[in-house]
Symmetry: C2
Subunit: 123 residues, 2 copies
DNA sequence: TATACATATGAATGAGTACTCAAGTGTTCA
DNA sequence: TGAACACTTGAGTACTCATTCATATGTATA
């Protein structure tokens, strides 16, 4: 006979009911958390984090970034597109050159906060 | 004849040489940036960001998290393994139950800094 | 107008990864 | 001791995505 009944809820969550319920109520909206994950995902790529860091120092054109990071213009351009879509960077055109810069003063703050963590965990 | 010569360096980087060089010199070590990207990548997943947020409110067991996020224990356990490897979370055993908690006070700060950004960009 | 330059973009590919499933370990308790 | 429980783990799969390649767009310049 069908012995294996799928557990809907384990015993722990009943024992810890107060805590789990409290956390459940405090939990941010699903959408906020998805947006947040999306944001951090953008920071979570070596190329993009380098681009963001570089732009935090100075506005630069696609060409400069490609040279600085030793990558193709195409690769850089694709990443800049993502960063622009999420409004982490903005651009201005000057003739045939497109200069990119950070669109947000928070970018550097998020970057710095992460770096503090990384440096500490080294020890 | 071979007309197409691969451009090593575009004209822009020569024109902008001072800026590019300055940024190049200031650039953090490759390893630091890779570690940083790795850190943010951990934050850049819906499941993991929810886990981190939940643990910032209270220590919880695997079972509680699975119930809270409506996911399988296995999925949660796999993610906790990654978070533990990177020392973002730690655990303690109490009988057969394993309680997880944040291993670092920076986690919440990084989370909050990101949330500020997300909330602002909504407008 | 033709050419070079700066950038953008679409398709293809290869690498990485989140989850599922099945099986395992370790603990408690009847 | 054995059954239930909490959790872990390895393999497999479906999916995402960063880069490359080829091509397209737009601008300046000779």
């Amino acid at each position: 006979m069908g012995k294996k009944i799928e557990k809907i809820r384990c015993d722990c969550t009943v024992i810890h009911e107060d805590i789990v319920n409290k956390v459940k109520i405090l939990m941010p909206e699903e959408d906020s958390l998805l947006d947040l994950a999306e944001l951090f995902k953008l920071f979570g790529d070596p190329t993009r984090i380098k681009i963001l860091w570089a732009l935090s120092e100075s506005e630069m054109c696609v060409c400069d970034l490609a040279f600085l990071l030793n990558m193709t213009q195409s690769a850089i351009s694709h990443q800049l597109r993502l960063l622009k879509q999420s409004r982490l960077v903005k651009n201005r055109k000057e003739g045939k050159v497109v200069f990119y810069s950070l669109d947000d003063e928070h970018v550097k703050r998020i970057f710095d906060q992460g770096m503090i963590h990384v440096k500490e965990k080294l020890m």
